[in-house]
Subunit: 368 residues, 2 copies
């Protein structure tokens, strides 16, 4: 299913918007109230560049929520179940953000710029409102802002070559989720070792929204000899890699244990954080569902507009959140949230995708 999308003034435009239009963007989504390119009309080429070369993505919609001020660290810790006390300046950490019932409401990367300045690189929910309400009601001395900072992702096995050509060989030594504040001939930005793929790469966090086209064109020129091309966060690769997609795999009542993020939940520390009591309770009761992979039989699945139930003996035992055809595995693969008592050896799992009732086989993530 594909429909037209009019470009409207109530949705923000990325600083790279005009550059992506010039480069032939074919479709957009809306994420954090901003247009995000989803493809440039060449799905096979976009997948291939990500897997075997280098791709550049406008992910400005991965907005930055800044916590700044004397209590920034206190608030950052209170917002997440993960112990962030060991984070150093220049380091990022993937942090589950839960509500007071222990359910996931975001899964940002927390960047520590200094002891009094943190950025949350957020998935698609209004965490700036959440953080503002909590800070104000707790009388914390911290300012919360939705920044005009715009990530441009450079992803794929040749990403490091492109970024090293632009910034120097030091980028190759940057550890995952670490970053450095720098500039590119005066364009202010952060170089972050990050990105929503498992193919390796970087994100350039542009700090001057007026210079989006300039940065886009610089990256494009630097990547030319490596075969760089435009793309977007890739659903096929993310399913193969088992990456978590907030509103896809996580519904309004998914806890971090079910989502496979239990290792980031610190229930033993002294620090309080939102949802701690509820998470202790959820943990002690044990999870009912877990995140896994599913192979699906039948014709190639090229569209995955919504979730499907997984059936076993006419009983719903899970939910398929997204399906894709994997070129690497030459099979239909999916992410599933499934009852923990369904066995990996189980036969008889069925998924009705509308066009076809498919047999399904459970497997562990990642696929690749």
């Amino acid at each position: 299913m594909s429909f037209s999308m009019s470009i409207s003034p109530n949705v923000d435009k990325s600083p790279y918007f005009e550059a992506t239009v010039a480069d032939g963007v074919a479709a957009f989504a809306v994420y954090n109230h901003m247009y995000m390119p989803t493809n440039f009309g060449d799905p096979d080429g976009e997948y291939d560049r990500l897997l075997n070369g280098v791709a550049m993505w406008d992910v400005a919609c991965e907005r930055q929520v800044e916590l700044a001020g004397p209590d920034a660290g206190v608030l950052a810790q209170y917002l997440t179940a993960r112990d962030i006390s060991g984070a150093e300046n220049g380091q990022g950490k993937y942090v589950p953000v839960c509500d007071y019932d222990g359910f996931l409401i975001n899964d940002p990367v927390l960047l520590k710029l200094s002891a009094t300045q943190f950025w949350l690189s957020i998935a698609d929910s209004d965490i700036q409102l959440w953080a503002k309400a909590i800070a104000a009601e707790r009388n914390l001395d911290v300012r919360i802002s939705l920044l005009q900072v715009a990530p441009l992702a450079i992803q794929g096995p040749k990403a490091a070559d492109v970024v090293a050509d632009l910034f120097g060989e030091w980028v190759r030594e940057l550890r995952y989720f670490w970053f450095r504040e720098t500039d590119l001939d005066g364009i202010p930005l952060l170089v972050v070792r990050s990105g929503w793929s498992k193919q390796g790469g970087f994100e350039l966090f542009l700090r001057d929204p007026a210079r989006g086209t300039e940065l886009w064109d610089r990256v494009k020129a630097a990547g030319e000899s490596y075969g760089i091309g435009p793309g977007a966060p890739n659903d096929v690769e993310r399913i193969e890699s088992g990456l978590l997609s907030l509103r896809t795999d996580v519904d309004e009542r998914t806890d971090p244990f079910e989502a496979g993020l239990g290792k980031y939940v610190n229930l033993d520390g002294d620090d309080d954080f939102v949802g701690k009591a509820a998470l202790r309770d959820l943990f002690s009761r044990g999870i009912k569902r877990r995140r896994a992979g599913l192979f699906l039989s039948g014709q190639k699945i090229t569209q995955s507009p919504h979730a499907y139930p997984v059936m076993l003996d006419d009983v719903v035992v899970g939910t398929v959140s997204e399906i894709a055809y994997s070129p690497r595995l030459q099979r239909n693969i999916a992410i599933v949230l499934i009852d923990v008592d369904v066995d990996g050896e189980e036969t008889g799992l069925l998924v009705d995708t509308g066009d076809e009732v498919r047999t399904a086989g459970l497997t562990e993530l990642p696929f690749c």
Copy 2:
């Protein structure tokens, strides 16, 4: 500008989604993380039905945030600058919701179902997160839920005939924003006198999401003799009528006084609410900008993808948030946030819309 939009599993589908696809929806937007039809390919017909007949719109994306429990009323009052103490069961009130700095973050209608149950019919921001954080940090005894309740709007001068044929003549006596809990042959819903137009009408708040197609088809059948047809919240009519559009006319630093909502701000009461101190301060300093209308010269403007600055003697004196060509006025009209010292008689206002530099004339809202 128009691009393709793929239907993805991370965005919610309205209970009317399949019915609108069957009825030929041509374009969608995303609002409150849900697909909302924006047109059915017949802009002139859709405008004409709204102005002269009756239109039906899928506005399920106008999500309901429920506050339920002993402290629901306390929380409802704390969330808004408007005095809601006089609200009766069955009554709705338009309520500005501000942050702690006094800036607008939403402008919902608050429905009072009972002293312990309120619904906020929200514009496009995650007010459920805002309300949850505030309620928890203030230890209020209230549950906050994003409901599976889906408004279907019936708008236009013949809307009351259609709704009376479905529910009875009593609907004609319903006052604006008042509602009644009822059902349509067992389909549970609220009949609300409401809707995002100035043409009159109702919204049916469907309480069983499994019955969306059934309700859609019932309304369609009841409206057939009145010439009902599908449509969507209409940008042309909303500009003519001067309706506020949250993310269009209101940026991250717009206060309710600038937005023309000062009459809903109660600074004199004893009740505390979020932003009260900041709003007192903003009020005492006086507004710098105000919301008004603008006529624009030149060729018909049929697309309005983003905001434009308003210039006077090479100085920016305002921001045009959205432009349309008004069939009723046969002129280009726009909503503007403009410096208060720009006079209505001012000549020399210029707006560069990319294709043309246009002369502009200030006027008051509404246009029609």
